[in-house]
């Protein structure tokens, strides 16, 4: 199931890029395909390293350029969880999304979902003097292993 979803996101991303007028090129394709295989947030460095490990060398500039374009089209979300480096993750076209628990000791990042939280944020977003189009929630603490 999750494999199917990833494939869908990848195709959806290629479609959106094409509609936005972008040409096809090896570097962007490699980055998009790699992102499609991720289930949670990865850093630009992770992407660069993974591609390199897989034998495809993509210039860092191309990785960042692609991430910027994908974020612009709303295909990925950029987030910072307090470790100094930005992370990116595919945005599910269905609208379903999650947030993150971060272990401040080992640096582990774990996703979670909560409907009640989403509702509270949605209601709040309507009330403020801001046109809110995205949000990010990060819970800091100690993961099971580190807290023990």
């Amino acid at each position: 199931m999750s494999g199917e979803e990833s494939a869908t996101w990848t195709e959806h991303a290629f479609d959106s890029l094409e509609q936005a007028g972008y040409r096809r090129g090896g570097a962007r394709r490699a980055v998009v395909e790699l992102l499609g295989r991720q289930s949670c947030a990865v850093t630009a460095i992770d992407i660069d390293a993974a591609l390199r490990a897989g034998g495809q060398t993509v210039a860092r500039a191309s990785v960042y350029r692609t991430l910027e374009q994908l974020a612009e089209l709303g295909l990925i979300q950029r987030l910072e969880v307090g470790q100094g480096t930005a992370r990116y993750e595919p945005v599910n076209p269905s609208g379903e999304h999650h947030h993150h628990l971060v272990c401040d000791r080992c640096g582990d990042v774990v996703p979670f979902e909560d409907r009640e939280l989403e509702k509270a944020i949605a209601r709040l977003s309507r009330r403020v003097a801001f046109k809110v189009d995205d949000h990010e929630v990060v819970l800091h603490g100690a993961c099971g292993a580190c807290a023990a």
Copy 2:
């Protein structure tokens, strides 16, 4: 009223530092006093610049060291709002705290409070397999001026 609260935080911070075994020194005092005068999140660079502008030159290393110690004691919260640089703000001893709206166009950062959101997070924190001791919510979008 808010002036009183700031003074309280500053004193509280000095007390906590002393109890934690830290000695008194000019650099740390300058940083704590400056933080006590802030109402919302500032960057380490802001602090350095403000102190420099005020005639007190404090080495960047001292600024970062102090921020780290204060964060360790729970006197300030470190947060990242998606601009690549960390921000810090005093934690009100009363427990009252706020989150942030960030304008992705002009970079403006505005605080907000919401009891319902806090409750949702508190409930959620009890349910997850993590010892949650802090949280951060960032709403991204366009501020009134930029959205117009």
